[in-house]
Point group: C2
Chain length 158, copies 2
DNA sequence: TGAAATAAGTCAACATAACTGACGTATTTT
DNA sequence: AAAATACGTCAGTTATGTTGACTTATTTCA
């Protein structure tokens, strides 16, 4: 009788997750490098693009990094015209963040690469697999964060 | 008619992948911190544990980092008795790597945490979901790396 | 209205984990 | 004996994160 029982460590999924994520995030690296950006810039650009007008403090909440850490990359993105800031209409202390046309375009290039990898994978799998995958990834998130993430990912992008 | 066609970026999966991987790798962080280790140590320890007697150069191949980078964390793991080195029987230039009892035990603790998260997720999903998930993660890996990864993950752990 | 709280930015110092390039040593191969 | 290989090490650099303290502008509240 095999020891592959309920208590066996899931080395296969642990390792597949590691390699899959590495290659998935590796796609945009080439384009980012060309502009002297790193993954930190990618994450900031992505979430600003997906949440136009987001406040700095809400972006910090999503990324779970410090203000100082965000400050450095955000400054570069603003200086090089990928992101712009506008004072909040209701609360002028806020600096609401938006991607510029240049930032939006670059963001599209990056997500296109990642979408291609995802679509290639899904296309080789049985119908309905994308729902299973979505469900799995969702359940891998900390329980107390799930609703917040659900809110984030269901944003429309017309 | 919606624009959610074949060319739409898969923002949902892109973001789910990001959050899921962050929380997945976050589990071991607590234990690692207590010992003054980081994720780099975790990766080294894990792959040595899974490939007893692995050569340094093969480990570099798996991790895709430089010798200098590996050197630092490996030295710490050896100094603190989580990993031991033995000269190769056939080629004494080699320093074959093994986890010590202490290292093996610690490794088990870490993978237990990650396995629990995986099992909890899978248990809430339809039968056969783990196969779908495995297939998806496998297909997300660079095509030219897949056979190598397949070889790695199918190792038996008695 | 004046004090306290909030949103954001900034300065300085530091830690980790990666990188490049060069060089050394032991051992094996040719 | 020379070349190649496996591994280690030194020095310097970069990207991305951290903590703690402080400033400025603005809003909220007693």
């Amino acid at each position: 009788m095999s020891k592959k029982d309920i208590n066996s460590p899931r080395f296969d999924l642990i390792e597949l997750f590691f390699f899959a994520y590495r290659d998935f995030t590796g796609d945009p690296d080439v384009l980012l490098d060309e502009l002297g950006f790193g993954r930190a810039h990618h994450r900031v650009l992505h979430f600003v693009h997906r949440n136009p007008g987001i406040r700095v403090s809400d972006l910090l909440d999503i990324l779970k990094i410090t203000k100082q850490s965000l400050g450095r990359v955000l400054k570069q993105l603003v200086d090089e015209d990928f992101i712009c800031q506008e004072p909040g209409a209701l609360d002028r202390r806020q600096r609401l963040l938006y991607t510029t046309e240049k930032g939006t375009e670059f963001c599209a290039q990056l997500s296109k690469l990642q979408t291609q990898r995802i679509n290639k994978a899904i296309s080789l799998m049985p119908d309905g697999s994308d729902d299973i995958v979505r469900q799995f990834l969702y359940l891998m998130i900390d329980e107390n964060e799930r609703s917040e993430v659900a809110r984030l990912i269901t944003k429309e992008t017309d």
